[in-house]
């Protein structure tokens, strides 16, 4: 192959549109590649819309109907009613905001904090690694559920932000450890060494060279920790250790089991099953969608768009 001589004039540069594919376009392509992913995506969108617009669909006090206490499933009450004759569907829809917002905040905190800690510990090694890892170990050994129970006595969990923060605090440790171990192996790879040799800043190396290589893992973890957070908070409400400030799915479960006796009387069964159904559906959506996340962040799959 003849090597061009730069002594010859370099062709006048003409700007050319970027031929690559944007991240969002590629992401959309990977979602629509399989039916199951579309279903998962649709479920997630449905619940997101529910969380955003749900409370606006109903008046702030849901209508009570004393003639229809624990009513069975019907056209008027698609999921039955509760102990006051309030539609379960309405309860599910209005209760989604707190549950999902707290879970999303918790997962976001877990992922961001865990990733940054893991990246720093894994890349800089040495003393920063030791310090961060000891802190991580400390948080990992805290049994999160009892801690939440204790904290709930002193903390107001009325706002999802407080709940999300607590959920995140107790769960970032595992994420940090996993990201650290991936970073440890990536930092020995040739491209990181090359970047160091080229004099690029540690910040650039960490967040532009290494981070994209763990992004699919992080993306998947974001989704799985959302489900984890939902179960943790719903569990807290179900156990009744957190004061009921707002209507949500956990409160419904608690009331169904401990007040309505759903375990023994079939009348209250719709009241018990409707929040469970919502949880199940959301988890299913996330699991189906997870499959697409790996592909989204994989550059090898961007070419054939």
């Amino acid at each position: 192959m003849p090597i061009p001589d730069t002594a010859q004039p370099v062709h006048a540069f003409k700007p050319k549109p970027y031929n690559g594919v944007s991240f969002w376009k590629a992401a959309w392509k990977s979602i629509t590649r399989k039916k199951s992913r579309i279903i998962g995506f649709a479920i997630i969108i449905l619940f997101t819309l529910m969380a955003i617009f749900g409370p606006y669909l109903y008046s702030s006090h849901l209508p009570i109907n004393t003639n229809a206490i624990y009513a069975p499933i019907s056209w008027k009450y698609p999921l039955g009613t509760d102990f006051e004759g309030t539609s379960n569907l309405a309860l599910i829809i209005t209760g989604a905001r707190y549950v999902l917002l707290a879970a999303a905040l918790g997962a976001l905190f877990t992922v961001i904090f865990g990733t940054v800690m893991g990246l720093i510990a894994g890349y800089f090694v040495g003393w920063s690694d030791s310090i961060i890892m000891r802190i991580t170990d400390f948080f990992l050994t805290i049994p999160s559920f009892p801690l939440l129970v204790v904290l709930s006595t002193v903390w107001n969990f009325g706002h999802p932000l407080a709940m999300g923060f607590i959920l995140g605090i107790t769960s970032w440790g595992g994420m940090a450890r996993a990201v650290r171990s991936q970073t440890l192996s990536l930092r020995e790879r040739g491209f990181v060494e090359a970047a160091r040799g080229l004099g690029l800043s540690p910040f650039y190396i960490l967040f532009r060279e290494i981070l994209p290589n763990v992004s699919s893992y992080i993306g998947m973890n974001l989704l799985t920790s959302i489900t984890g957070c939902i179960y943790a908070e719903v569990g807290l409400f179900f156990l009744g250790v957190v004061p009921f400030h707002v209507n949500n799915w956990g409160v419904m479960l608690n009331m169904a089991v401990f007040s309505a006796g759903a375990m023994s009387s079939p009348d209250a069964l719709p009241y018990l099953l409707s929040p469970l159904l919502a949880l199940l559906l959301l988890t299913l959506g996330i699991v189906l969608f997870l499959d697409a996340v790996d592909e989204m962040f994989n550059p090898r799959l961007k070419e054939d768009v």
Partner: protein, 332 residues
Amino acid sequence: MIEIKNLQKFFQIKAKFSNHKTVHAVRNVNLTISSGGALCLIGESGCGKTTIGRMLCGMERPSSGSIIIDGQDISRLKRGARAKLLQKIQLIHQDPYQALNPTHTIEQMMKATLKKVAKQKKKDVDWIRQRMDELLKLVGLDPETILFKYPHMLSGGQRQRVIIARALTVEPEMLIADEVVSMIDVSLRLGILKLLRYLRERHNISILFITHDIASARYLGNDTELYVVYKGMVIERGRTERVIRRPQHPYTQALLSAMPILKGIEKPGKDRFVITSQFKQSEEETRGCLFADRCPFKQSICDEKQPELIHNDDAYHACFFPKVRQVAAESI
């Protein structure tokens, strides 16, 4: 100009239930590369040639000895100044499949360093664009088709060209080519070697070529120097042609004998011999010649004393019984 003086490197190998072992990876290496010059290190795997290269570009710290770049001893410099100086020496990795970030397009990775350089030179975005085009054309790639591609869409040879182009963004004075062609398809090797030679001749970039393949060392130019390294020690050095045609050290001869020949076109050298015993990183230091345990021409003195690198017949060698043997292939 880059000078290495009495460079030594020890590696501590941590063993769990016994004493720590020390491997003497580089022994008293001296070398000088003038600007625009080329030097070739050859030796088998594990002989320390890569370690020399890694110490030169700052990825490994020498145990003792000094590396002098343009008259400045890098171990005496402060961190920032050293990093700046070391940027003049760029390492081209052996494995082109590892050296490019799989999540970046070629444009992204070229831009990352060019942005930094542009900032230092106070140039604008157009300059970055132009320079990117220029460098990719220089290494023989078409910028239009390659810029938006990801590394996995490229062949090994193209990747190695991209890596070289990326190294050139910081305007280095020297490239360390560490086995650059060993992982590339045979049909593409020559292109890379010619590119390195071109960079040397036209752009005055000196090259430290690390290889185990003597044939490829010859492509870098007529004035290259060849250093044969064995167990971290330079055992023979001289002009490449001189060493290949008239090797004096038995180890060099063994290396040359191991080269495959074009059967039917070439015939093996008449003094050709093959060493069957394996290369061992011995734990205890020998008093004698490092090569003594494998040398077919060993005498009793070889176990007693270590030969020094001495000048003889316009080349240097470290052997008590140097003898020119005809081991390179001859044409029929």
